[in-house]
Amino acid sequence: MSALESANKIKAKFGDLVAEPTEFRGEITVTIAAAEKIFDVCQFAKRSLGFDYLVDICSVDNYGEDPRWTVIYHLRGVASGHELRLKTNVSEEKSELPSVLPIWRTANWHEREVYDLMGIRFSGHSDLRRILMWEGYPYHPLRKDFPLAGKPTDLPGVAFTKVTPMEGGPFVTLPSSSDSMAREPRVRVPEGAEPAVSDQRLIDGKLK
């Protein structure tokens, strides 16, 4: 069964939801009209058509158009060697589609990446955190309206927003007989809490 036949089977099974398969440079693309059906289509492709390998999940920002997002799945059958591309559009207001993590476990990091860089959420993903950018970063840098030069972040406590403080040491553990919490210079004091006297000494930067 060729990739085109598989695409036609998907079309036969899901009917109007699926547009006519297109071919470009020998690659078959199937567009699915309803993003919430992507889970069912993927499950059918894996169980019935043998597409057991998820090559990639990728997203495109069609800035200025509606729907704004396109999410693209590259499937492959390891045994047959056939490849198929599934595409679906997601509107900006919704920005959410079902996760395919229960079908392929490799989807975990792919979906986290799409969420991180493009800001599209995957419902049913058990651990949807940022992956390449750091936790707490406020933007989604692959969006077309994010400038190439980047935006400064002024969030407190986020890495790399300020020059590394060279003053205000010591940055080494102090020799003393008190416990390690007191001796450790980077001791974590909860926000708003009054630091202990021994910590205050270190935070102020100078040994009193």
Binding site: F24, R25, E27, T29, D52, Y53, L54, V55, D56, C58, V60, D61, I72, H74, V78, G81, E83, R85, W104, R105, T106, N108, W109, H110, E113, L117, R130, I131, L132, M133, W134, P141, L142, F146, L148
Partner: protein, 423 residues
Amino acid sequence: MATVQDIEIRDSAARAAQAVEEAADIHGEKLVLNMGPSHPATHGVLRIVLELDGEVITKADPDVGYLHRGDEKIAENMTYTQFIPYTDRLDYLAPLANNVAYALAVEKLLGIHDKLPPRCQYIRVMCAELARISSHLLGLGAFAMDTGAVTVFLLTFTEREKIYNIAEAASGARLTNSYTRIGGLMRDVPPNWVDMIRVFLKEFAVALDEANTLLTRNRIWVDRLRDLAVVSKEMAIDYGLSGPNLRGSGVEFDLRKNQPYLCYKDLDFDIAVGSTGDCYDRYLVRMEEMKLSMRILEQCCNKIPGGVENKSHEPVSIPDGKITLPSKQKVLSSMEELIHQFMLVTEGVNCPPGEVYFGHENPKGELGFYINSKGGGTPYRLKIRAPSFINLSILGELLPGCMISDVPVVLGSLDFVMGESDR
């Protein structure tokens, strides 16, 4: 004087109860350990948050992204040709292979990937195989060193130096080669290039044999690698592993064989496949792949169109003024060529609208480029399928149950590079 002392002899039930009590005390709290991002065994800046019960890992959470440079964003803002140097910096242990992968992806979009001149195809295959040997050598050297066998590292790095010399002779750069262009190569190889490879192959066979002798039947090496971090066939496919990590689990899949590109169809080679999918199998697959790459290189040396010196002036680029740059001579003497050169440099290669995905069998796995074009000289969206990124995603499942001293071994056997993973 005799003294009386009471001795309490507890029955087995009481002893068992006490043992349980003591055990609860030993297990106590779990320790969270931050490994990396600057740890010698993480080969770059990978951070793993490990939850330990004594020395046994109970949970592992890999944290990537410390080397994120936004390559995909950068690609959207420059011409196709301008992005070639950025591909050098993905898997910086095999820049030649990345160049070939990226050029082929853009050529697929143009519809010319199967019309490349034969000499160009052969040189590209030779570049990709040299990169494979170079990358596997580094992976092996660092792997062995992390496991305590420092000699192998010295041996493999001596050989890698020779590959750098060969790459330098072809492209002029040792590390960041940028040797390919859309539709061909930057320039033809020098006349002594093929002989350089022949000499290298002869010397490398000896060195590889020596590394083989030092490791493959080494008791310590085998004891540390065998049955560690076993990845079953189904798990490897489910997690989307590729390259030697996929084949180490016994999946016979190699893009050079399954979806042949360039001149791989004309070459005779096998693919190395493991059986159990443990660290030792992944090591064996890499060792075998180096031998297979040698075989491919030898065939290419003999079959390269135009021969060693290219006396018949076989082209290495598509002679199409709208894709590749014309010669300087023609630019200065002919109007049409001048226009072509001007258009190519200012606007880039004019690609049709459409979308393509091309996967290349890189040393680390399947390096794929998805290009979404709306026409013109720049991609609308370029997605890089980085094999290291996907190979690392299995760590959270692979590490629990291992000892903490196994971590460098597992990481070494997966052979990743963070420049590619974080993009």
